[in-house]
Symmetry: C2
DNA sequence: TAAACAAGTTTACTTTATAAACCAAATAAA
DNA sequence: TTTATTTGGTTTATAAAGTAAACTTGTTTA
C-alpha cells in the first residue's frame, strides 16, 4: 500500500539540496548554504552522503584563491528524486 | 525558501499512520499494522509519539476478551498533516 | 494443563541528524 | 608586520530516531 521512501532522500536537508540542484543544475557550497539555511557542518556531511550514493558529484576547485566546491546532480540522482516524489504520493495523495 | 518540515510527520511510519487515519477516521492497532507493514514494536512507539503531540487519540478497550487499541486523528493532527503536505511543495514542486 | 497465539509494550542497539569545535588559507586591521 | 577576522569548509561529539528482539499478559486450542 505505501511505497518505501528512499532514506537517502527522506531527509530535510538532503531533499532541499537535491531540489536546488535539480532546479539549477550546478551550485556551489556557499550557494547551497544560503538556499537551505543549513549549517556548514551539516551541509558538508549530507553532501558526502549524497555523493557516496552517486546522486550528486562534488568537485573541489578554486576560484581565484578561494576554494570552491561545486555540486551537480547526476542522472541517478534525478531518477531517485523522481521516484521519491512519486512514492510520496502514496502517503499524501495526488 | 524551504519551509521547515514538521519532524513529527517527517517519518515514514508516522506519516503512513496519519495517512491511514485521515482516510479512515478510525483504525485499530492490528489494521494499522496491516496497512503499514510495520513491526508491532515500532508501531507502538510511533503511535505514542503521535498521541503525545496531540495528533491522534489512542483508546484502549476490549472487543470481547481481546484488547483493542483504537486510534483517531484529531483536528490538530489533520491541520498538521495539511501543513506538512503544503510545506513539502517547496521541496518537490507543484 | 501445557503449548501456541494475540495484542501490545519495553529494552537495547544501530543509524541519523545536528551543532559545536576545529583547521587552513586569505584578507583586513592595528 | 603581527594579529585579528573572515571564508570555506571538515571532523568530532552528542542527542534524537528508528527498529528488531525480547518480554508481558491474557486467551484460545490441543
Amino acid at each position: 500500500m505505501f511505497d518505501r521512501l528512499d532514506p537517502l532522500l527522506h531527509s530535510e536537508l538532503r531533499l532541499a539540496v537535491m531540489s536546488v540542484l535539480i532546479g539549477s543544475d550546478e551550485a556551489d557550497f556557499v550557494y547551497l548554504r544560503q538556499q537551505t539555511g543549513a549549517t556548514a557542518g551539516n551541509l558538508s556531511v549530507q553532501l558526502d552522503k549524497l555523493a557516496a550514493a552517486g546522486y550528486i558529484t562534488v568537485e573541489k576547485g578554486f576560484q581565484g584563491k578561494k576554494p570552491r566546491t561545486t555540486c551537480r546532480v547526476t542522472d541517478t540522482g534525478r531518477a531517485a528524486f523522481a521516484a521519491y516524489v512519486e512514492s510520496l504520493r502514496s502517503y499524501i495523495g495526488k
